[in-house]
């Protein structure tokens, strides 16, 4: 997991806002305005006062460089930070500086020049209890401020800021040589055209700043304030390190979500009322790079940036206690849909999804990932790759140019999706082979590398035996998996091929206005996104766009198979996706189609439309039916295309289950085949319980790691009647 630190090294979460980067005082505008937005004028003022030292002088003279870089300047007007600063001053309960109770220091500091830079340095140092002597050759303090402001304006501010502390002021005292001064450190701020005594800043405890160094008024104050920190560091450590020049910001304008709003103009023409200040503060976007948290469903749901996620994941994989307590992110790791949207919207291309996938693998390898999160899906994958698997070449061919790889869930949703597609393909390309198999996504999502690799190797060897054909995909996720793990296999989408071959859509009679829901795995496949839209329009649909489509395609909730690990999150995602539009959806992933339909959102698979198969309200099959459909598909394919009729694959047993109970089993991911197996086990072993009140039997069986319970009755004529079924993950230690 060396990947962690590299991952967030480029994250811009903590980059300074554009305005802050331009501010000579490095005022944290996000923090300042955040306080104002809450109506906390007093604390906002304190933050401002701490940053600028002399709030009255700065608000009077600041040329507002922040306005030029405010992203709101073309969206209603730049935020008037200076007016907000004035409002913070005006509406603060107390403008006086706070008094700090700190031990007095014994190192003495000389400041040459009582201009505003020297005073700034003095202010900071005496607040930290250093004895400070300020030498001024003239008879007054304030330096060049006398040329800029009426003295009562700046003197009022200076006097207020020094109200808590005293310094030794030596007016009419011109210093001619630094050797006359016996101090531990010296700050030279002798103003424009002043002398620097030939000293080099940063040597032997001597520092320079202010107009002497060419700084303007704001920079002069900022340099004075910052010099105090540099001097203190020198006095404590002996290290002469000049203040680091903060250079701009890496924040990217495109990452900021602009919400236009007209600038608030003070009704009295000069200053904001409290309400006006609040309104203006609320226009501020508090610019920060938060594209991931805005777009990624995972990060927005958990309100966590990549940095926080990596930290939590790190301690989860490497817990600091032996018993593994504090593995805070186990469920978070298992809740990523792996849709790729976080990387897509990140200006730095940070791939948090890939990081979580690697983390999932690490947890799996350690045996620290709860098996329950993926057991059902891995059993399902095993079913696809064994009972329901079929790899064949059309009779009479020794080699295929094409291989149709429909993916395990297409036929599970409706076998006709696969039979009709294969019929189309073999009509146009008679040597097209078929592979009913799983692309490996469930194993990848479960972090089970060994199982995943096994599946990949099987696909690869079958593909070689078929003559290395080009794969034709119906499912964007399958294609993504092939591109990632089987890059040697060239691929194409079924829909593009259908379009090229001039398919004439049978279409539907109930079509209307619809929206195409791009599956997340189609994100980087604009050609198939375009083809689907063209096919839908040719089928008679009018299309309206969704807010999140194309490169911003989001997961329907199926990705990562997160529904067991965190059901409320999966439900939240489904709702968010179906609420994007009132239109019915057209999609080209069987999982998207079935998940939306299960949530009562009318949704077609594009194959429903092209082959005239189904209506948008078709109730998706239950987990049991999904298995039966795959067996049915295999049987139909063998019969229709290979003329093999003797196979009866669908389990047929005498078990009565009410429709309500079937729905309950489906929601609990309990297979009817498992239920039957448990009842049979109870009956064969006699390990069952009798409830004399209801006349029913109960029994249990552990299948995989899960313990299933059934309650049933025995009817002489009709076999078993299931009354209830449920399961738990905890193992009963019966031995």
């Amino acid at each position: 997991m060396a990947y962690t630190h590299d991952l967030v090294a480029d994250c811009l979460q903590f980059e300074r806002a554009f305005c802050t980067a331009k501010c000579p005082f490095n005022l944290d505008v996000r923090d300042f305005i955040g306080k104002l937005q809450q109506g906390r004028f007093n604390v906002a003022y304190k933050a401002y006062q701490n940053a600028v030292g002399f709030p009255g002088i700065v608000t009077a003279l600041c040329p507002e460089p922040c306005r030029l870089v405010c992203p709101m300047k073309d969206a209603g007007g730049a935020i008037s930070i200076i007016q907000l600063e004035k409002a913070a001053m005006e509406y603060a309960r107390n403008q006086d500086p706070d008094e700090y109770n700190m031990p007095a220091k014994n190192q003495r500091i000389a400041i040459i020049g009582a201009g505003i830079s020297g005073l700034g340095c003095a202010l900071r140092l005496i607040t930290r209890k250093y004895p400070v002597t300020v030498f001024e050759k003239s008879a007054q303090i304030g330096g060049h401020l006398h040329d800029l402001l009426p003295s009562e304006v700046f003197m009022q501010d200076i006097n207020r800021q020094f109200i808590q502390e005293n310094y030794n002021l030596r007016l009419n005292t011109e210093i001619t040589s630094l050797s006359d001064l016996d101090f531990d450190a010296i700050y030279i701020a002798t103003g424009k055209n002043g002398t620097d005594f030939g000293a080099e800043s940063g040597r032997d405890g001597v520092f320079k700043g202010g107009s002497l160094t060419g700084a303007d008024t704001m920079q002069a104050i900022a340099q004075g304030l910052n010099a105090a920190g540099t001097i203190e560091r020198y006095l404590k450590t002996g290290i002469m390190v000049l203040p680091e020049e903060l250079s701009g910001t890496k924040l990217i304008a495109d990452a900021i979500q602009i919400i236009p709003g007209e600038a608030v103009i003070p009704a009295n023409g000069t200053s904001f009322t409290r309400d006006e200040a609040l309104a203006e503060a609320k226009r501020c976007l508090k610019c920060s790079c938060d594209a991931c948290v805005r777009y990624s469903p995972l990060m927005s749901y958990f309100k966590k940036f990549p940095r926080r996620i990596t930290e939590e994941v790190e301690v989860t994989i490497h817990p600091s206690t032996l018993d593994g307590n504090g593995t805070v992110a186990t469920r978070l790791i298992s809740t990523c849909n792996h849709c790729g949207l976080c990387k897509e919207v990140c200006p730095q291309n940070i791939d948090t999804g890939e990081f979580l996938l690697q983390s999932h693998r690490a947890m799996h390898e350690k045996g620290a990932m709860p098996w329950a999160f993926h057991e059902f899906y891995l059993r399902d994958m095993d079913f696809s790759n064994h009972e329901a698997a079929l790899t064949r070449m059309p009779s009479g061919y020794e080699k295929s140019r094409y291989l149709f790889f429909p993916g395990c869930q297409l036929g599970a949703s409706d076998p006709r999706y696969v039979t009709e597609s294969y019929r189309f393909l073999t009509e146009h390309f008679p040597d097209t082979a078929l592979m009913l198999y799983c692309c490996g996504a469930p194993a990848e999502w479960a972090g089970d590398d060994v199982l995943h690799q096994k599946g990949i190797e099987k696909i690869k060897s079958d593909w070689i035996n078929l003559g290395k054909p080009k794969a034709i995909f119906a499912c964007p996720m399958c294609r993504q998996m092939f591109e990632k793990y089987l890059p040697e296999i060239e691929g194409e989408f079924l829909y593009n091929l259908m379009d090229e071959e001039g398919i004439v859509p049978i279409g539907l009679t109930d079509h209307s206005t619809a929206s195409v829901f791009d599956p997340c795995a189609s994100r980087n496949k604009p050609s198939v996104q375009k083809t689907i839209r063209e096919l839908a329009i040719r089928s008679g649909f009018e299309l309206e766009p969704l807010p999140m489509e194309g490169r911003l395609a989001g997961c329907c909730s199926y990705g990562g198979q997160v529904a067991i690990a965190y059901p409320p999150y999966a439900e939240h995602i489904v709702q968010a996706k179906i609420e994007q539009s009132e239109n019915p959806y057209i999609t080209y992933c069987a999982n998207c189609r079935d998940i939306f339909a299960a949530a009562k959102k009318p949704a077609w698979h594009i194959l429903d439309i092209l082959f005239g198969l189904g209506n948008a309200n078709r109730i998706p099959p239950t987990v049991t039916e999904r298995r039966n459909n795959r067996l049915l598909l295999k049987q139909q394919m063998l019969k229709s295309f290979w003329n093999e009729t003797e196979i009866m694959l669908i389990p047929d047993f005498m078990l009565i289950i009410s429709s309500e109970l079937k729905e309950k089993l489906n929601k609990a991911l309990i297979l009817e085949t498992d239920v039957y197996r448990i009842i049979e086990s109870c009956e064969q072993t006699g390990m069952k319980l009798f409830n004399p009140e209801t006349g029913s039997f109960s029994g249990h069986l552990q299948i995989g790691n899960t313990t299933y319970w059934v309650e049933y009755r025995i009817n002489k004529d009709s076999g078993y009647e299931l009354l209830n079924a449920y399961c738990h993950r905890m193992k009963i230690e019966e031995a």
Binding site: T327, P370, F690, N691, M730, K731, I732, E734
Partner: protein, 64 residues
Amino acid sequence: MPETTKMICCKCNKELEMIKTDFSYLGHSFFTEVPKCPECGQVFIPEELARGRISEVEMQMEDK
């Protein structure tokens, strides 16, 4: 389990009694009293226990 539910072990023809039973999940072990055949040890976990307290403890273990 509700007081009224009476379960009979079909193997031993004995009524189940509340007996201490061991459970395990994700490397952690627990014990609690559940209905159990005093003879062969066959247990009964009612649905409300499975979906209630057992489910809660499972989630705690998963997040531990």
